[in-house]
């Protein structure tokens, strides 16, 4: 732990250096003290290590100065062993292993490739091994003859351990510890977290009245040993707010406060806890923590960082918590729901956990490289969230500290490499494998519609042959026949119409397309061999006037695009990704399904439109506006073939294309019809279905005669399309069926250096997969919740604890390995883990246990003594007090101001206020998340869980409050305190608008004592006299300026999307808004108390 410790050569040591060198020592002693187990008696010397450390500061400093830190610049001074302060017996896991791990395992640990002298110090055998020349590493009871110890105290520079060039350095106290440990017999313990979970006996404590449940016994035992006195229970106002914030992420309503505060029943507290646990807002709050671990985001994360549709997974998580889904099922469905027998839609949605990783669509990216990156990420997320292991450290080499080999890493990776997912996400929102998530109603309806379409297929396809023979000539059925005057129709010999930059053929009032009415455009284009100039093919639009209209264009990159401009000046432009084949005829079909407002799950994607090129669907790209269609495109411009404006002078320049067989229908044709159109000319580039292939191409087609038989199918197709558009897509996992999971060991983690091929498997230090089970994701899922697996229950209950107490029992929830911080209460953790398993993985049961404990219910008041002895509240002699998370701070502001829209659980991501330019400053210029446009209305006030998460530029007000970027698995948030946070709370329109609404509510409330009312509404508690005075002073000081300057008041009240209440005096409302802003910045409000 001696990182970042500087050692300036030959200079007087400045204070910070002394402090720095002392730090590790103090921390080590603090931890060893906290790690002591109840069966040990604490000596006075260890009972208050922090205080003693502070006291000894002055005398320690000079001593440290004579034993400088190891560095490349300064010669290494061997440290002399000094008497150990440990009086009691030394415990390997508590006292010895952390020092070994930090200083020795790197070269004498699990990694066989970097192991020096073939010596292991991470195994009992290694510790007792005999070295070359018969020297013994450790001789229990005899430190002076143990080579291990001799090498710590030698004065020979090339002999001393750790070697100077490692920049590792043992302190005299640590060396003394080693000596004493050997002297006491060098007892060995396996690493604690790999040991089986055994439910420990609940300790007895002196103050039994403080024990509400076993949690308290474990906590109190240590509190009593430390000499501290546990705090009394917090008052009821504080408790109800604390429990509400911790269960739901929202403060209680006034009614909820009263319901608890005035409840005389003896189980009032429990009832309150039960009420909150049953609230659907519980799941929303819990989901937020899990989504940090799942690295959930609404964009891909790499390169273009386009929108990705996976929010149904987010809603699955919420529902799972609300349904109190057992954690084993919660695990199995997320890891391998798709592989369960007869997997349900919901179980497939759950597998989104492993589709939340960042993906790329970067042009030059190499598939193999990204397959290995995705697998690494999935191993990291899964092992961090369930196992608390830093497994990804073993991707380049055997783990340096934990018994995890590189081979085992790739065996874990193998579980995730047997998927059908492509390496490139194509920057699409629905990168396969993905599914539509239908409502039950839609599922039923689809089941009825699909047979209708199948029937139409059966009816229609035999006709193709007939058409080939019959070549009917009637054209009457075409709703708009643009080709009439132009001979554009597909007689095989027709040349079609040549179009270049000078072409303009006006055809009068034809093809008046309408928003809301389906249409289909079908035509053939002879694409140019060369030339890169965009051309308008046909349409009703004058680009100079910019009035409404539409046009179809051949883009410079040989793709087809369509532009629609409404009388509301809404511009929608979309382009197919498929490029036309040069020098040959291509068939193009553009279909519009008549939806007026399209699927909002896919911003910047014209979901109502499809483009087919040569009978294959083309992905869209470059949609210029979000896909809301409203207004009219009906225009007085004539229908024009060609690209030239009237009076154009650019004759004969640029590209030339030939257009023919243009047909325009005011209907959405069904697929068989579309296929017929694509077969009206022979083309080796058009891939047809088998029946269509049988037909001879080049026929003339009259759809009119078969149209009646297709009406039902068209209706069904339309409706299916509508359902599909209204249905969200979500990314899922899907296993390849033609291969078994495997991976290659990648030398140094390099995808281009594959070595041994290994099957899927789990680390040997943990229990094996179920015997006989196929080693695949499903087996992995079951293994993660096998009660014999010692890690998941420990890791998960530790995370629950962290969510409620602000710090884990293991304060490194991401690392339960030997480099992680050992548990402050190991027996409590094991008791909780055992309880979790025995309760059949009942999550709400575990939360309730913690919430019911006296430990949790304590007041947060800190005495000076506590602050000295236990500043970080590791002992929990007081209740948890810390700043709320970003989402809770915002949601609370919306809640107390009455702005929040929290009725609906789940749904599309929303875009509340964000400063201009945050996305654009970083975004790829073609990204569909380049332009941020805030939502309006209720979407501005949804819970923060639903805020659109752009991974490469997360919502700034949340990032400023330590929300992770969601680029990788995160199970713990930092909790910083910065001026930028103050600026958010003071100035973010979201908070200013909320302050206005809080002020408005206050002024309109029935209570006379408004200052108290405002405070009470925010805090759930009445202010005292001093607080009231301050609030009144603020009001009285700011009011005159708003009376004198009505403009100022108007400006302040205009902030936010919602209108100000005009029944109130603007000056008064403005002054109250300032008071509300003051209250909403209170430390007490943004903290859990």
């Amino acid at each position: 732990m001696n990182q970042a410790v500087p050692t300036p050569p030959k200079r007087p040591r400045s204070l910070p250096i002394i402090l720095g060198s002392l730090a590790a020592l103090l921390i080590a002693s603090a931890y060893s003290w906290l790690r002591s187990t109840p069966d040990e008696s604490l000596t006075p010397a260890r009972a208050a290590p922090v205080a003693s450390a502070s006291d000894t500061h002055a005398t320690s400093a000079p001593q440290t100065a004579t034993a400088p830190l190891a560095s490349a610049d300064t010669p290494h001074h061997p440290a002399q062993a000094t008497p150990a302060k440990h009086k009691g017996s030394i415990r390997f896991n508590r006292d010895i292993r952390p020092i070994l791990s930090d200083n020795c395992f790197h070269c004498h640990g699990p990694d066989k490739y970097t192991r020096a002298a073939d010596l292991r110090l991470d195994t009992h055998e290694g510790i007792l091994s005999t070295l070359s020349g018969g020297r013994r590493t450790v001789i229990p009871g005899d430190p002076e003859n143990s080579e291990f110890y001799k090498r710590l105290i030698t004065t020979e520079e090339d002999m001393i351990m750790p070697p100077p060039n490692s920049h590792k350095h043992l302190k005299p106290e640590q060396i003394a510890l080693f000596r004493d440990w050997i002297a006491q017999g060098a007892q060995w313990e396996d690493h604690w977290s790999f040991n089986p979970i055994k439910r420990p006996a609940v300790p007895s404590v002196a103050n039994a009245a403080k024990v509400s449940n076993p949690i308290d016994a474990f906590i109190l035992r240590k509190v009593e040993e430390s000499g501290l006195t546990p705090n009394e229970e917090a008052d009821r106002h504080t408790l109800v707010r604390r429990v509400s914030l911790d269960t739901r992420g929202l403060p209680p309503t006034a009614e909820e406060v009263l319901a608890f505060v005035d409840d005389p029943s003896p189980d009032a507290y429990e009832q309150m806890v039960d009420r909150f646990l049953a609230d659907p807002k519980f799941g929303e709050h819990r989901a937020r923590y899990w989504l940090d671990a799942a690295r959930y985001s609404d964009t891909h994360g790499y390169h273009m960082d386009n929108y990705r549709s996976i929010w149904p997974y987010r809603d699955w998580v919420t529902k799972a918590y609300n349904d109190n889904m057992p954690f084993d099922q919660f695990t199995i469905e997320q890891i391998a729901g798709d592989m369960l027998p007869q997997a349900t839609q919901s179980q497939r949605v759950a597998t989104g956990f492993n589709r939340c990783n960042p993906t790329t669509g970067e042009g030059g990216a190499i598939a193999d490289e990204y397959f290995s990156i995705y697998a690494l990420d999935r191993v990291e997320a899964t092992t961090t969230a369930w196992l608390g292991l830093t497994m990804s450290c073993a991707s380049c080499h055997d783990h340096k500290f934990d018994p995890l080999s590189q081979k085992e890493f790739y065996q874990m990776a193998a579980f995730f490499r047997n998927t059908t997912q492509p390496a490139m996400d194509r920057n699409a929102h629905d990168t396969p494998p993905s599914i539509h998530v239908y409502t039950p109603e839609h599922t039923t309806e689809r089941a009825k519609l699909q047979p209708i379409i199948k029937q139409a297929d059966r009816d229609l396809l035999p006709l193709i042959g007939n058409y080939a023979a019959a070549q009917p000539k009637s054209r009457a059925a075409f709703e708009w026949i643009a080709d009439e005057a132009l001979s554009l129709r597909s007689a095989a010999g027709d040349a079609g119409v040549l179009i270049d930059a000078s072409t303009r053929r006006e055809l009068g009032d034809q093809a008046q397309l309408k928003i809301g009415t389906p249409f289909t455009l079908s035509f053939w284009v002879l694409a140019p061999q060369k030339g890169k100039q965009a051309l308008t093919l046909f349409g009703r639009y004058d680009p100079r006037s910019k009035d409404q209209g539409w046009q179809v264009r051949l883009e410079a990159d040989a793709s087809i695009g369509m532009l629609l401009v409404t009388d509301e000046q809404e511009r929608i432009k979309f382009t197919g990704r498929t490029k036309l084949k040069p020098g040959v005829w291509n068939h193009v079909l553009i279909a519009y399904n008549g939806m007026s407002i399209t699927n909002q799950t896919v911003p910047n994607y014209a979901t109502s439109f499809s483009i087919r090129v040569n009978n294959s669907a083309a992905q869209q790209k470059g949609v210029k506006r979000e896909n809301t269609l409203y207004g009219s495109i009906a225009t007085e411009q004539p229908f024009v073939i060609g690209s030239a404006s009237p009076n154009a002078k650019n004759k004969g320049k640029g590209s030339q294309v030939t257009l023919k067989d243009l047909r325009i229908f005011n209907a959405l044709l069904c697929i068989p019809e579309q296929e017929l159109l694509a077969s009206t000319m022979p083309s080796k580039h058009v891939k047809l279905s088998k029946p269509a292939k049988k037909a001879k191409a080049g026929f003339q087609l009259d759809i009119a005669s078969i149209q009646p038989r297709l009406q039902a199918a068209r209706g069904a197709v339309n409706r299916l399309q509508q359902i599909q558009n209204a249905t969200p897509v979500t990314l899922v996992m899907e296993e390849k069926t033609d291969s078994e999971p495997f991976a290659h060991i990648l030398a140094r983690g390099d995808y281009a250096s594959p070595g041994e091929r290994v099957p899927a498997g789990v680390p040997a230090v943990l229990p094996p997969l179920e015997p006989g089970a196929k080693a695949n994701r499903l087996a992995l899922a079951h293994w993660l919740v096998n009660p014999d697996n010692p890690l998941p229950a420990r890791v998960t209950t530790n995370r629950f604890w962290l969510e409620l107490f602000g710090n884990g029992i293991v304060s490194t929830p991401e690392d339960f390995g030997s480099q992680g911080v050992p548990p402050s209460h190991i027996e409590l953790l094991d008791w909780l883990a055992a309880e979790f398993i025995d309760s059949d993985w009942n999550m709400k049961h575990m939360y309730k246990l913690m919430l019911m404990s006296s430990t949790y219910r304590q007041a947060t008041t800190i005495s000076e003594e506590e602050l000295k002895i236990d500043p970080d509240n590791l002992l929990l002699a007081r209740g948890p007090r810390y700043r709320l998370d970003a989402e809770v701070i915002r949601d609370q502001a919306l809640f107390i101001s009455g702005l929040i829209d929290d009725e609906q659980v789940g749904g599309h991501p929303v875009k509340p206020y964000q400063p201009q330019g945050v996305w654009k400053a970083v975004a790829y210029s073609n990204s569909n998340t380049k332009e941020f446009r805030a939502d309006t209305g209720n979407k501005l006030y949804r819970r923060s869980l639903y805020t659109f998460w752009k991974r490469t530029a997360p919502p700034p007000s949340m990032a400023i409050f330590d929300a992770p970027s969601r680029e990788s698995c995160s199970v713990r948030r930092e909790r910083t305190n910065t001026p930028l946070q103050a600026l958010v709370l003071m100035n973010d329109p979201q908070f200013v608008e909320a302050a206005r609404h809080l002020a408005t509510l206050t002024l309109k409330a029935e209570r006379e004592d408004r200052f108290a009312a405002l405070y009470a509404r925010a805090m759930g508690n009445e202010p005292d006299e001093q607080q009231l005075t301050i609030l009144k002073d603020t009001y009285q000081q700011v009011l005159p300026s708003y009376i004198e300057n009505p403009d100022l008041a108007e400006q302040l009240l205009a902030i936010g999307d919602s209108p100000a209440d005009d029944s109130l005096d603007p000056a008064v409302l403005a002054a109250w808004t300032v008071v509300a802003n003051q209250v909403m910045n209170l430390d007490a409000l943004i903290s859990k108390n």
Partner: protein, 489 residues
């Protein structure tokens, strides 16, 4: 992860806090004692310094200005002159030169790899005789102040991983950026401004510019206060800086005074020292509301200075504007300023786009160095220029007499450094006749980062923080070398 120094400092600060309680708030106002926010405490205790407390050795530079050309500028057309290529124009790159190196997905299917010799004239400049193309006439004037490294290399071959790599030491997200490391290690010299400022620039070359990512200035596992603060070119330079319309500074002061009184009352009730930290953060925020507008107000800059940077300097968000801003930040002690300029990804149509890109940056770069020098700031300000990798000598897409494109090339590229203890007028490293392989003195991007830290007085392999059980450092697990050959003695 843990931050032992700060943990200690934190305990220590708490101790002092209680001894000072009687002296009122002033003595401890700046002490933050939140468990996960150790730096503020460290900063105060050691007077404005960071986690390192003191440098490992005497620093040559106090601060860095890093001019990042995102997209990878073409070394062949700007600095790495290869006259021999004229003879090879439109001939295929010999296999033995390519040496089986992997290609991006964009050119790997190309049938041939014809060499595109640069169409730009190169000349030698200054006493040092450095080669510079006609695209960079202003840079050409200052070659004796800068050190070119022509032998930079990296492993990453695509933009996203490559820029993440050079900025954070790893190709995938999650690690702290160079600037945040430096912020963490050295702390601030100006408490009213961020320690690490990011300035994103507009550009005029290729429109389809590669994305940037907030991870490029993110703090990874370091406390998030060390993440770069990206100044906005529209609206408030610092997000949420301005009071809302209708609240003036006077009203804000009244509100803050009341807030402080209320928070003190809470402190009296619960005794949580974090509350005092919060009060001081509000004071700093209030101060920033003055110091940042003062920083971005260029009205006091002389016409001479403005002329030095060129006409774009008057347009917010241009590279020229940002360079002047960077000088002002340097004057005010901001530790790390990084300017990003995008649009350098010339896969095709290089002759159309590259001159515009160069025009954006050439005069401002020269102006920045000149300006810093005139004010005596260049000696202790390290300026770094470069992108995430280089470009191929062979052509991507159609090769004609007038146009060509170049694909990604990680095997060699050119960067330059100036000031901050770096020698001027030297060129380090060499590439082969094709500008394809390094033939002398390779410099990996981690060597560059180690060298930057070195100039700041930090020994890179001793500047580590434990995360996921490992002592993490910006230079990663591989050996990194300080490029001493370009450093002043």
């Amino acid at each position: 992860m843990s931050f032992p120094i700060e943990e200690y400092v934190q305990l220590e600060t708490r101790r002092q806090f209680f001894t000072k309680m009687g002296k009122g708030l002033g003595g401890v106002a700046l002490s933050s004692m939140l468990a996960n926010n150790p730096l503020k405490a460290a900063m105060n205790l050691i007077e404005g310094r960071g986690a390192l407390g003191a440098s490992h050795f005497a620093p040559k530079a106090k601060r860095v200005i890093y001019l990042f050309m995102s997209g990878a500028p073409s070394q062949h057309d700007m600095f790495d002159y290869k006259p021999y290529m004229k003879l090879w124009h439109d001939k295929d790159l010999p296999d033995e030169i390519r040496g089986g190196q992997r290609l991006t997905g964009m050119t790997s299917k190309q049938e041939r790899f014809p060499i595109a010799s640069s169409i730009y004239d190169f000349k030698q400049y200054g006493e040092s005789g450095a080669w510079v193309s006609e695209l960079m006439p202003h840079t050409a004037k200052m070659v004796d102040d800068i050190a070119f490294i022509k032998s930079m290399w990296t492993e990453a071959i695509n933009h996203d991983p490559a820029i993440t790599y050079i900025q954070t030491g790893r190709q995938t997200p999650g690690l702290p950026s160079l600037g945040s490391w430096i912020s963490y290690g050295l702390g601030t010299e100006n408490e009213n401004l961020p320690t690490f400022v990011v300035l994103n620039s507009s550009w005029t070359g290729r429109k389809d510019a590669q994305a940037l990512f907030s991870r490029l200035w993110g703090s990874g596992f370091l406390p998030s206060e060390h993440q770069g603060v990206a100044f906005q070119s529209q609206g408030d330079p610092v997000l949420y800086l301005s009071n809302p319309d209708g609240i003036g500074q006077h009203t804000r002061r009244i509100m803050l005074d009341g807030l402080e009184d209320m928070n003190k009352l809470t402190y009296e009730q619960v005794g949580d020292p974090e509350i005092h930290a919060r009060i001081s953060q509000y004071e700093m925020a209030f101060n920033m509301q003055t110091s940042v507008p003062e920083l971005t107000d260029m009205s006091q800059e002389s016409e001479e200075t403005l002329a030095l940077y060129g006409p774009d300097v008057k347009t917010k968000g241009t590279f020229a504007y940002n360079c002047l801003q960077a000088r002002r930040l340097a004057e005010r002690g901001v530790r790390f300023t990084q300017i990003f300029h995008r649009g350098w990804d010339q896969h095709g149509n290089l002759p159309q786009d590259l001159p515009n890109q160069c025009k954006d940056i050439d005069q401002p770069c020269h102006a920045l160095i000149t300006d810093l020098k005139q004010r005596g700031l260049l000696d202790d300000t390290l300026v770094v220029w470069g992108g995430e990798f280089g470009r191929t000598i062979y052509c991507q897409g159609p090769l004609t007499d007038t146009t060509y494109g170049r694909d990604h090339h990680p095997r060699c590229f050119t960067m330059w450094m100036a000031g901050g203890g770096v020698k001027g007028g030297i060129t380090y490293g060499e590439t082969d006749d094709f500008g394809y392989n390094i033939t002398k003195n390779p410099v990996h991007i981690r060597d560059l980062n180690a060298t930057i830290l070195n100039q700041l007085g930090i020994q890179h392999d001793r500047f580590t923080v434990k995360h996921q059980g490992l002592d993490q450092r910006i230079t990663g697990v591989d050996e990194a070398r300080i490029v001493r050959e370009i450093l002043k003695g």
